[in-house]
Amino acid sequence: MTEISRVPPVPPTLPVLQPGQTYDSETGDQGVSYGRVKQQGLDTTHGAILYLEEITVSFDGFKAINQLTLDISVGELRCIIGPNGAGKTTMMDVITGKTRPSSGTAFFGQTMDLTRMTEYDIAHAGIGRKFQRPTVFEQHTVFENLELAMKMDKRVKTTLFARLNSEQKGKIDAILALIRLHGQESRLAGLLSHGQKQWLEIGMLLIQEPQLILLDEPVAGMSDAETARTAELLNELRGKHSIMVVEHDMGFVTEIAQQGKVTVLHEGAVLAQGTMQEVQADERVIEVYLGR
């Protein structure tokens, strides 16, 4: 345990994901690269990081998403709420390449067409996703989970000869501190509590250094204390990444949305959009969702 205490604690204000990250400062890296270096290749000149335009996904005639149009700005923390079956998870599937839309376009920045990219290319381009059910590698230790997720060249040959350098180990330590799993790094991830798994998965997201983070019900099954801590964590990340949160827990949404935009989905389309207060006052929203 003495070794662990030698690692300097991470001050809450320190940006965790500083190396090579430009998106949290002024946008406007056009003309610098031609998309060969993926992180720099993201063109966010128009201020938006994600555009979904008239996306439709139908499964055997059932339209899980119907003409959905949505965009997320750089550095924004956007909450998406909506009743079950509103198409929230399907929308994330479209953004991460798991599901191909029947029609419509999905752009990451100005240039990357997500509907034509594979899951791993999208992950490399800078979109990280946390699933509804915590999915960590249960047979790997916490440390190994973070090591696998860490942003680096993920091709076969480089992976075979990959050795962690001290900077990378430092990054893992910083994330461990952030997700409060310090001292647990050699435990198998399968042995963690539900809330700890959720955090580990968030940690795995952060260490990928994504520009856009998608969180699907991040506090599902968490205790009140864990939920509060997660809200705190998301508030720390605000502005450093663009974040999209899908959540049912209204208290949690109110906590993290603050004055930002909240989108209400219903039957696969946007029902209402605005601040939490505006949305809560909207009659249609009350009818389909909040009113009960």
Partner: protein, 380 residues
Amino acid sequence: MSHPSTSSSLFSRPAWTGILICTAVLALLPVLNLSFPEGHALHISSYTIALIGKFMCYAMAALALDLVWGYTGILSLGHGVFFALGGYAHGMYLMRAIGRDGVYQSRLPDFMVFLDWKTYPWYWAMTDNFWYCMLLVVLVPGTLAFVFGFFAFRSRIKGVYFSIITQAMTFAFMLLFFRNNTGFGGNNGFTDFKRILGFTITAPATKACLYLITLALLLGSLLLCRWIVASKLGRVLQAVRDSESRLMFIGYNPLWFKLFIWTLSAVLCGIAGALYVPQVGIINPSEMSPGNSIEMVIWAAVGGRGSLLGPIIGAFTVNGLKSWFTAAFPELWLYALGLIFILVTLFMQQGILGVIGKFRHKRTALEKSRDRQSTSGETA
């Protein structure tokens, strides 16, 4: 250490001790066979040498299977085809090396004379060169595995569907090789080898040499496999096994990882087959029968999959039992094999190694946490 980079940390200390003792004992056997006359108390019979030589080839095949099944979660029921193709590639050289000493005293192998062929088919070109054939031993199973794997993995065929296709593949190859016109000796395959690189193949010294080469390559493969599974790539493979879709969402393309380990496994299996043929003296299409591939899976399961050492132990144990059973109660062997498989599946899911491991579990866990702590100590 969590990220071993030196060979000394590839295995735990007791495992190293076991490996070194086994290697030393196995290496001593052919020496005892050659240096003491028959009837002497320390003499090891040539039969034993041939038997253990064969077991080592099986062990290498089981080791190769463990890379894909135990670590990556891809159950192959067709590894026999890679084993046999490696064997056939080496067999082609051995047939050419017979020269005019065959029954018909032709420069062509007997089975070609029998078919009334006048010249070698094009794919027999240059097979009189030993090193070219060694290249084929690696390239033929490797290429087949690469092409087959590419299409299967790209189509995201997984689990039992993949297993069934591999089974069908080995069956198809068996039927192909059974045909006389395929040019590989049909039903009888290749046999009656006379010499290898000029040495008489039946001479005890040649046999001992082949045995020692097999031992060295088995040990080398074990170390290579261990190095691979202990690398970050090994952890990616295990992640493929446990949650392939998650792996894609953190930016890995599972296709190339699966293809890499699948092809490597096929190559190792082919090398095992190439070592098997000169020691056993025959290769025929029955090596490609679905039953043979399934037996390989049983070796790995009995020894303990996902441990590399386990499948080696399993191959020796099951084949040792088989040798004894088929001599003592020939009709009962298949029942016994079935029973072993059922018992292992029900009561020893980690195989023989798992039972040993249970006794050592607590100690290892302690050591591991100590290792990890010293690793994180280095970072500070």
